[in-house]
C-alpha cells in the first residue's frame, strides 16, 4: 500500500530549529511510534508529513514519489495521508456524521445518500453506531476522538498519523481509543504515532523513534529500545517516564 520516507528533513520556526535532519522510514503496514519529551518536535514532524507545514530542507517520499516539492498541490497528497490530532478538532457545528461526510462529499463529489451506508458501517465498526446524529459537544472525549479517527478513515488514506491522540482524554477513556488503534493495526494500516503511552508502544509498535530537541536520537524495535537503549539521552528519558 504505502511507504513513507524522509531524508534529511529540516524545519525551523524562525531561529528555532524544530526538526533536525530527520531520516525516517515507515514501510507498508508498519506501525512506528515517536516518543520524546514535550517540545521535542513530534507534532511538528507529523504536521510536516501531512504537508500542513512546509519543510525547509530534505525530502518526503510517499511510495518513492517526492511530495515535498514546493508548489505541489497538497490536496491529493493530504487525501492519502490522514492525521488525527490531540484535541480532536471536530467541526462543532456539524453532527458526527456530517463531520465524516464533508470531505468525501466535497472531494469525491459523492452525495450523502450514496455515502450513508459506507459511513454507517464505519461508525458501526468503531462502536459509534448510535452517535452519528450527535453534535461533538454531546459526545464524550473518547467518542469525539473516535469520530475524528473515523473522519480521517472515510477518505481511505494509505497512511494514518496520530498525534498524541489520547493525551487530552480522561484516563478511563484512553482504553477505548487505544482499542481503535489496535483494531487498525490488526487490519494492517500503516501508522505513525506520536505517543506517551509507552506500554502501548511497546506492545504494538514495529519500531520506536526517540526524539530529543528535534532530532531522532535513537531508533529500534521496542524490545531493544525500551530494555536496552544505547544512548544516554534515551535512558534518561525512559527513566523519567516509566
Amino acid at each position: 500500500m504505502a511507504r513513507l520516507e524522509t531524508h534529511g528533513l529540516c524545519k525551523s520556526f524562525g531561529e528555532n530549529m524544530v526538526c533536525r535532519n530527520i531520516n525516517l522510514t515507515v514501510n507498508d503496514g508498519e506501525m512506528v511510534c515517536l516518543i520524546g519529551a514535550s517540545g521535542s518536535g513530534k507534532s511538528t514532524l507529523l504536521r510536516c508529513l501531512n504537508l500542513l507545514e512546509p519543510i525547509d530542507d530534505g525530502v518526503i517520499l510517499l511510495d518513492g514519489e517526492d511530495i515535498s516539492t514546493p508548489g505541489l498541490d497538497p490536496q491529493p497528497i493530504r487525501q492519502r495521508i490522514g492525521i488525527v490530532f490531540q484535541s480532536f478538532n471536530l467541526f462543532p457545528h456539524m453532527t458526527a456524521a456530517k463531520n465524516v461526510m464533508l470531505a468525501p462529499w466535497r472531494i469525491h463529489g459523492r452525495r450523502h445518500v450514496d455515502l450513508q451506508g459506507e459511513i454507517a458501517a464505519l461508525f458501526e465498526r468503531f462502536g459509534l453506531a448510535d452517535r452519528m446524529e450527535h453534535y461533538p459537544d454531546q459526545l464524550s472525549g473518547g467518542q469525539q476522538q473516535r469520530v475524528a479517527i473515523v473522519r480521517a478513515l472515510a477518505m481511505r488514506p494509505e497512511i494514518m498519523l496520530f498525534d498524541e491522540i489520547t493525551s487530552a482524554l480522561d484516563p478511563e477513556l484512553v482504553g477505548e481509543v487505544l482499542d481503535v488503534l489496535r483494531q487498525l493495526r490488526a487490519e494492517g494500516m500503516t501508522m505513525i504515532l506520536a505517543t506517551h503511552e509507552m506500554g502501548f508502544a511497546r506492545e504494538l509498535a514495529d519500531k520506536i523513534c526517540f526524539l530529543d530537541a528535534g532530532a531522532i536520537v535513537e531508533t529500534g524495535p521496542p524490545e531493544r529500545l525500551f530494555s536496552n537503549p544505547t544512548e544516554a539521552r534515551t535512558r534518561d528519558f525512559l527513566a523519567r517516564v516509566i
Partner: protein
Amino acid sequence: MAVFAAIMVLVPLAPGWPAVKKSFFNSEIFVQVFPGLLNAFLLDVAIFAWSAPLIFSLGLLVALARDVRAPAAYPLRLFAILYTDIFRGVPVILVVYLVGFGIPGLGLPRPWNSPYIWGTVALVLTYAAYVAEVFRTGIEGIHQSQRAAALSLGLSNSDTMRFVILPQAIRKVVPANMNLFIALQKDVALLSFIGPVEIFRQAGVYKSLLANFTPYVGAALIFLAITIPATRYADFLLSKQMRARS
C-alpha cells in the same frame, strides 16, 4: 434609577415646563400625526430591508478578500484594507452627502439620479466596512486547529472557509452584527437630508405645519419601539454565547 426618578419629579417643576410640555408632549398633535409618521416609517423599514442584505454580502466579500493568503492576491487585500479604513473613518452623514448629492450631480438620466439609489449606496458602503471588520474578527477568532483539521482531510482552501470556518464565524458574530444593523436602522433617517420623505423628514414637515415639536417625539418613540427590543435580543444572544463558552 434614582437619577431617572429625580428628573421625573424635578423637570415638571422647572419654570419653562408648561411651554415645553405644550410644544414637545402635546397629546392632541401626537394623535393627529402618529399615523402619518408610522406610514413614513415604512419607508425607513423598506430602505433598511433592501440595504441590509447588500451590506451583509459586501461586508462578507470584503472580509474574505482580506483573508486571501495567496501573494498574487495582495492588491485585493490592500484594497479591502483601504476600503474598510476609509469608510470607517468618515462620518456616515458625510458619505450620504457626498454620494447622495455628488453622484446624481453628474447629471445622470432618470432613474439613475434617484436619491434612493445613491442614499442606499452610501449606507451600504459605510456599513459594509463595519460589517466586514466584524466578520474578520469572527474569522480570526476561529481556532487555527479547525483550519488544520479541514485542510488535513484534503479539503481546498475555499471549501475549508465555506464549510468549516465561515459557518462558525458568522454564528459567533451575530450579536455584534445585530448591533450594527440596529445602528443602521437609525441611520436610515440620515437619507432625509438628500430627499426621501422618511419618518424624520415627515416629522419635520409636521413640525413646520403645526409649529410644534411633538412629531419628533413621536418619531423617537417609533424608533425606540424597534431598537429597544432588538438591542435586548442582541444582548440576550451575547450573554447566551458567553455562557456557552465558559
